[in-house]
Every structure is written in C-alpha cells, then in structure tokens.
C-alpha cells in the first residue's frame, strides 16, 4: 500500500485516515437491539405457554457462545472481540424461538451448535455465511428429529394436563413426566399443522377454525406471540435497524397469495390474516429474513427476495408437507441472494436517466 507508506500503520486506522469521526453504531449494539426487540414476543410466549421457552433460550445462548468461542479459537480469531458482537446470541435465540420449547435439552443444543459451527463458521464466520444459520439449524433438526419437533406445548387451559415450571424442567433435562401424564396430554400439534391434517380429512376451513386451539387471528396464544414479534419488528423499523422493504414485501406477498386462494376457495384455504399470525411469519418477516448477511443489499433486491420468500412460505404451507414454510422459504431464497443482488444494482449517480448522457446502466 504505497499511499500508507509515510504513516505507521497501527491497529486502528481511524486515528490516521479520514474520516476521523464515526457514528457510534456498532455491530454489537445493533444485534443487542434486535435481541431487545424479541423481548415482547418472548414475554407473551411465557405468558401463554409457560417458562419452558426461557430454558430453551438459555440453553441456546450458552451453546451459541460456547460454540462461537470454540470455533473462533480453532480459526485463530480474537475470541473476545468477536464474541462481543452478539451475533451468535441472536442466532441462538432465533433457533430457540423456532423449535418446540418442551423438547429434550439436547435438541436445541445440537441445533444451535450446528448452526454456529457449520452454517456460520465453516462458511467463513460473521459476514460470510450464505445461509441463515438459525434456519439451517432448524432444517437440520426437522429433518433429523421430526418426532421431537412436533411436540409443541399447548397454551394455558387447552392441554389435557399442564406442567408447572419444575415439571417442564424435569421433562427437558430428564425426559421424565409426572405419573399419569402423557406427552400428548401436555402438547399438541401447531395450529398450522392441525389445519393441514384436518383439511386432508376434508373438513372446511371455517369449521376447523372453530376448534378451541384457534384464536381470533391464528392459534390461541401463538397469535399473541406473533403480535409480540410484530411489535418488536415495528421497533426495529422505527430504530432504522431494518428497512421496510423486507417486512413489507414478505407480509404483502404472503397476504396476497393467501388472499387469492382464499377468495377462490374459502373452504380449503385459510384467510390471509391467519397466515400472518400463525407459525413463524412475523418472526420471519422482521427477524429472520432481515438478517443482513443472508439477504440482498439493494433495496430492489430486498423486495424481490422477500416477495419470493413470502410466496414460497405460502406454497409450502398450503401444498407442502412441512408444517411451516418460513425456514425453507428463507433457505431457498438465501441461495438466490448473490444473483438477486447482482441484477438489482441501482444506477450510479450520473449514470441514470436520459439527462445524464449515453452511459446508461452498469457495465
């Protein structure tokens, strides 16, 4: 670097090169605020389903930090510097929120470790992973342990039996249930799952949605959690941590796709709002698809990416064999990101419009 020759290069270039000032924004602070934005959803989760989710989140956090530290050490990177960026923590939380909380402890541990070690660090660590690590973890779990992935806790008042916190802990860590209580009594299929199974039995949608597990918008309890995530998402928008493009395009496309099918055949296709407030749609719209590393950087690219994910989510939900489509939609769209980014480059200043001369577009 010939230009730098006259100055001694030190660790921080900022003392020697313009600009000498910077916004006090850090990756760590951004990630921390995303974690904070998850809190309303988590609080409602605890309110409706009991504290088991906190155990998953704790397990995921510890595993994430441990795996991250280990991988950084193996890759000979400054551990403390990278660990404090909070990105591993976020991956852990998102995975914990995507899988059933009442599951053997190793489920979330295996998923998180895989997400961090394989999906993140084997691809080069922070900033280099093409796939959303949390969603890779989820996909691995649902393919490898489908049984454990279907036992969702029933919300308060809906299960045949209910576990207190100690009971939940006992099941998570020891696999033991109180006498006379079966796993089926405290868990249930998700509202999306139930809808799918019942539709196969040729029941009309409106009749299915009369079941007690359904609430006003989506599933009883889970709709409130979705609402919590929506709230957190709006905070992210207001704090300008995410731009509007992905949430709007994602939810918009999901709404439109669901709306078209619903209008055409209301007996077989649930209404758009149901899709918004079921499963991981809200979590996906604001927290998963918006992961900057695995989404396009251009505004137009973000719209295409999110619209694609919205459509895929709907198709998987309506016609696929998996209960929810968010994870696979995300991963499928992750593959397209480099291409989308390349073809949605905005015109450069002085290279747009007829007023700016001959050189239109990019070379």
């Amino acid at each position: 670097m010939p230009r730098f020759a006259s100055f001694s290069l030190t660790n921080n270039m900022s003392a020697f090169f313009a600009p000498f000032i910077s916004k006090p924004d850090t990756v760590s602070a951004i990630m921390l605020r995303v974690l904070l934005a998850l809190l309303p959803g988590i609080a409602l989760y605890v309110w409706h389903f009991g504290p088991a989710i906190l155990v998953s989140i704790a397990l995921a956090s510890l595993t994430a930090l441990g795996t991250e530290a280990l991988m950084l050490k193996l890759r000979d990177r400054p551990v403390r510097h990278f660990l404090s960026d909070n990105s591993a923590l976020l991956t852990g939380w998102l995975l914990a929120l995507s899988i059933p909380p009442l599951a053997p402890w190793w489920l979330v541990v295996v998923g998180t470790a895989f997400a961090i070690a394989i999906a993140k660090h084997l691809y080069g660590g922070l900033g280099n992973n093409p796939f959303n690590p949390a969603m890779v973890g989820y996909a691995v779990l649902i393919v490898s342990f489908p049984a454990q992935m279907t036992h969702w806790i029933a919300p308060h008042g809906l299960g045949l039996a209910e576990l207190d916190f100690l009971g939940q802990l006992e099941y998570i860590f020891l696999g033991a249930l109180p006498p006379n209580v079966t796993l089926d009594a405290v868990t249930m299929a998700t509202p999306l799952d139930t809808l799918k199974t019942r539709l196969h039995l040729d029941e009309p949608v409106n009749q299915i949605l009369q079941m007690p597990i359904y609430g006003r918008l989506g599933g009883q309890g889970s709709e409130m959690v979705s609402l919590g995530f929506l709230l957190g998402g709006l905070y992210l928008l207001a704090a300008r941590i995410v731009t509007w493009h992905i949430p709007v395009a994602y939810l918009g496309t999901l709404f439109a796709a669901a709306g078209i099918f619903h209008l055409a055949d209301p007996a077989h296709y649930a209404a758009p709002l149901f899709h918004w407030f079921s499963g991981a749609a809200m979590l996906g719209a604001f927290f998963i698809l918006t992961d900057p590393i695995t989404s396009p950087t251009t505004p137009k690219g973000k719209l295409i990416f999110a619209a694609g994910a919205g459509l895929l989510t709907y198709l998987i939900r309506a016609f696929g064999s998996f209960p929810d489509g968010v994870a696979f939609a995300t991963l499928l769209m992750n593959i397209c990101v480099p291409l989308i980014t390349l073809y949605t480059q905005p015109p450069v200043f002085g290279k747009k419009g007829p007023a700016s001369g001959k050189e239109k577009g990019r070379p």
């Binding site: 230009r3 730098f4 900022s14 020697f16 313009a18 000498f20 910077s22 916004k23 922070l126 200043f349």
Partner: protein
C-alpha cells in the same frame, strides 16, 4: 421559493462549527519564514523564475505556469528567497515537493498592480490574467479557475445557463467560507458577477446550507445592495451537500453525467472564496497571496485567520493555542482531511482548516469487524454506489470488478466509513484500489513506451544495416561505373518516412492495447492521476510528459 432537489444518501455528522465563528477573521502575523510550494494547484507545478538570494516583492511572480494545466505562484510578502528545494508538504503520498523558502523583510512592499477593466477586456485576456494571478478553486480541488472559464469544445460559454456559487461548506468544523461570506459578501458578489460575465452565464445561484443563517443574511444583503439579479438559495444541511455535483443536483435537479463536466449540462460551479479571489485579481490586480484558514478542534481559541500562503502550520497552531493533549493535526475537515506528518508543513491554497486532534476529540474507532452486509454504507452513499461490494473487490484485489462497479465514481466523501457499524475503513480501501489501478495503468503505459522504443531501435539497426548495404552497393556501383550516385538522397528520405510510419504504428498499437480504464474518469480524477503520475515520475527520476489530461477541466469538489 425555488424547488430544491435531493440526492440520495448523505449523513448528518455533528457540525462543530460554532466555536470557530465566535470571533471574526483575524490577520495572522507575518511569520519569520514562508515555505511556498510551486505546486499549490491541480496540474503541473509552476516553474521557478527566481533564484536563491533574489529579493522579491509582495505579489511578485516566483513560479511561472508550466504548460496548459498549471497555475502561477507568487511571493506572499516581500523578502529574500533563501532556498529553492524539495520540502515536506501536505499530500497523501507523503513525498516532498519543490518549494521556495522566503524570509520576509517585514516591509510588505507590493509589486505594482492595477485593476483590470474586465468589461472591456477580451475573455481570453482575462483568463490569462487570472492564470498569472494564480487564481485556483479554493474549495479544496484547487483547479485552475481560468481553465474552468474556458469554453469547452462544442459547448460555448453562452450555453451556460446557471453559474453556481458554492457556499455550502458541508464538512464539519470548517468555517472559513462561512466567515468569508459574513465579512466579505460584497466582494464575493462582485467576483460572482465577474465570473458570470466571463462565462456569459444566465442565472447565478448562491447555495448556502441552512446552518449558516448569518452568512445567508450577509449575502442576501450584498446581493440586494449590488442590484444584481442573483439568488441566494438556502439548501438543507447534509454532508456531502457541498460537493460540486451534489450541490448542482440540489439546486438544478440535474445530474452531471459520470465522467463529464458540469459545463456539458450548462452549469458551472465556483467556491465563494474563489469568487472573492477573482474579485481581488480583477478589481485590484492582486494575485492570490493569502486565504482564510480555520484553526479549531482541540484548541483554546478556535478562530479563522487570513493567512499568507506558505505560512507553516505551527504558526496557526500557536495562534489557536492547542491544548496539551493534542497529539496530531489534520488539514481539512474530519471527513476528508489529511493527517499532517509535521506542523512545519506550509499552508497552501488548498488548506481550508487545521484541526488539532486528540483521542478525546476523535476517539479511535474500535477494531474493524467483518462486513455484515447491512448496507448502511449504500444507504448514505451520495454517488449511489454499493460500498460493501467495492470493499469486497478492493480487499480481494479484484480491481477490474471494482472498476466495473464504478469505483471511479466514488468521491471519497467518507460517508460510508462514517456509518459502518463494523468500522471498516472503507475509503482507505477505495483509495488504495484507485491508486493500484492507476499504478497498473501507469506501468502499462511505461511498457507500451518501452516497446515503442524497442521497436524503433530495432528498426534503426535494421535501417543502418540497410543504409550501409546501400552505401556499399552505391560505392561499388560508382567504382564500377564511375558515375555520381544521384540516388543517395532518396533512400535517406525514404528511411525517414519509414521511421515516421513505424512510430505512428507503434503509437496506434499502444493506444489500442491500453486498457480503456481512464476513459470514463472525470477531469478531477484525471487531474489526480496526472498529479500522481507526475509524482511517480519524479520519484523514479523519470521525466514523462503528462499532457493528455489537459483538455478536460472541472473542480471536482468544493466543500
């Protein structure tokens, strides 16, 4: 109310301009020694026309413009030339440059000078006058002003609909233009009228950011007093809104096409301080000998001073009374400024501000993290680039890719670095990539040059052989036939033609094989290239003509 336009991106860093605007502009005392670089402008350095030991008067020419793309340099005061030698100057390359050391005699004795009746003068004469007065853009790019007043081929001056005076001064801390507009508004307005006259421009817009209400008021008053139909336009404060292309966009809605000059869309833009020096040059015949410089930052007395060109930075630092924990100095603002390697470096035409800095004032950024592709950099880029991609290509040395993605449209404003949450020094990567690309092209050109010479040498050897053979044959023939060889002149002419043809061919080949990279550069970029090349050439003790850039001109930026 004029409709204003927007450019994408931009940032709002804290302005920190209040401190240095509390006091008026003061005149810096005459220093004991002036160090006057012969290159204070974009383009070729001026050629020294004085000798060591000469006594010079204030305003006397000491550096003659050397070639088309150059400007004059003068003695800032009367005194004796003590040395003409390479000295450290403020330049990113860190290389020293030729300077005259002037020991003032304290008499401030002027060379005779007189006003120019510009309304009854030929435009070409006026331009020559400005050139000999060393008038260059004072916004930062120091582009010779006479070149910007020259009609472009195919774009006569009467096509210039709008003359813009740039009083935006968007960079934090700097207040020299602000204070100049407050105190010398009338001179600026007169200078603007002179520029308008020379350009035959239609309207004149004076763009000032809304964080300078006093400057706006003073300029409005001056315009009203002058009775000229100029408009003072208040533009929103945003960095880098004072960059020429961005200001043109805000005021006119026009975008200067990439690699083109503002005149090609009928606009020309001058900094307010430049207008003021045009006024001094025409109304008083004074060459450019001083400028306003802000001293601010970690100092007890932040203020603006009128400083003689060539004054060492330390003189200004002493006036500002730098605080004890000051450990470095920056020439320019915190966004685009240059850290100084020493305070013995002279203040020049491009120096608008000196910031005394410490870790407390400018806390060092935390160590960089990898890019998380958050695209905050793209959101603030005024050139609508994708800095994270350019960073990627620069880091991996894929320079062709970087160029494809418009690296050379980057104005190095630093907005991307400013917002990057990973604290990646993005601009440094871009500067590095640009200099690598230029170096590569330079090497390519040198290689072409060498090949051309090689081909010529081979041809010469071949020709000599041939000539020898011909001479021999002629002699033999003469001996045989005892006749005067009448044909000997023709082969020589022939040979001459062949040489010309060979050179022409080699040139053509060289031109064809040269990568087209430099074709799309703006004049400022080309000026930079020319400058860097000139430096390289000097550093390598090689003298290569760098005249190709001379046809284009513009003032790239004027914050």
């Amino acid at each position: 109310m004029r409709t204003l336009f927007k450019f994408n991106g931009g940032i709002h860093p804290p302005g920190n301009k209040e401190r240095s605007t509390q006091r008026g502009i003061a005149r810096a005392p005459l220093p004991a020694k002036l160090v006057i670089p012969f290159r204070q402008h974009a383009g070729e350095a001026a050629r020294p026309v004085v000798r060591v030991g000469d006594h010079v008067l204030k305003g006397q020419l000491i550096g003659m413009p050397d070639g088309y793309f150059s400007s004059a340099v003068h003695a800032s005061t009367s005194g004796t030339i003590a040395a003409i030698a390479a000295q450290p100057i403020a330049h990113p390359s860190g290389l020293p440059d030729l300077c005259a050391t002037l020991i003032p005699d304290g008499r401030e004795e002027w060379i005779p000078h007189a006003a120019v009746d510009y309304r009854n003068s030929d435009p070409a004469e006026l331009r020559q006058h400005l050139r000999m007065c060393g008038v260059v853009g004072l916004g930062g790019a120091v582009f010779p002003s006479d070149l910007k007043l020259r009609p472009l081929r195919g774009h006569p001056n009467k096509d210039i609909g709008t003359l813009i005076l740039n009083g935006a001064e968007c960079e934090p801390y700097i207040t020299c233009d602000d204070m100049l507009m407050r105190e010398r508004a009338a001179e600026i307005v007169q200078g603007a009228e002179m520029l308008r006259f020379m350009l035959e421009a239609g309207e004149v817009l004076i763009g000032i950011e809304d964080n300078k209400p006093q400057a706006v008021a003073a300029m409005r008053q001056a315009v009203a007093d002058s009775g000229l139909p100029f408009e003072v336009v208040v533009v929103p404060t945003i960095y880098p809104g004072g960059s020429a292309k961005q200001l043109i966009r805000v005021l006119t809605g026009l975008e200067v096409p990439s690699g083109k000059l503002p005149t090609e869309i009928g606009v020309q833009c001058f900094n307010v301080a430049t207008a003021c020096s045009v006024y001094r040059a025409l109304a008083h015949g004074e060459p450019l000998l001083s400028r306003i410089v802000t001293i601010t930052g970690n100092v007890r007395r932040a203020q603006n001073y009128e400083v003689l060109l060539g004054t060492p930075v330390q003189e200004l630092v002493a006036l500002g009374e730098a605080l004890p924990d000051t450990d470095r100095y920056i020439m320019g603002g915190p966004m685009m400024g240059l850290p100084l390697s020493s305070t013995a470096i002279p203040l020049v035409k491009a120096s608008n501000c000196i910031i005394a800095a410490s870790d407390k004032l400018f806390p060092p950024a935390p160590p960089a993290l990898p890019c998380i592709r958050c695209s905050r950099c793209a959101q603030v880029c005024p050139a609508d680039l994708q800095p994270m991609d350019l960073f990627w290509f620069s880091q991996s040395r894929e320079f062709d890719k970087a160029q494809q993605f418009s690296l050379f449209d980057c104005i190095e404003c630093g907005a991307c670095s400013y917002v990057c949450p990973s604290h990646i020094p993005l601009v440094q990567y871009f500067q590095f990539a640009k200099s690598e690309i230029r170096a590569r092209e330079q090497d390519q050109r040198a290689a072409d040059h060498a090949r051309e010479r090689h081909e010529f040498r081979e041809y010469r050897i071949e020709r000599e052989k041939q000539e020898k053979a011909e001479r021999l044959a002629a002699r033999e023939q003469a001996a045989k036939q005892a006749q005067p060889p009448a044909a000997s002149a023709t082969p020589a002419d022939d040979a001459q033609q062949k040489i010309q043809a060979a050179i022409a061919r080699a040139r053509e080949q060289a031109a064809a094989s040269r990568p087209k990279n430099t074709d799309n550069l703006t004049a400022q970029q080309q000026a930079e290239i020319a400058e860097i090349e000139a430096r390289r050439a000097k550093a390598h003790e090689r003298a290569e003509p760098a005249g190709e850039v001379a046809d284009n001109h513009s003032e790239g930026r004027s914050q």
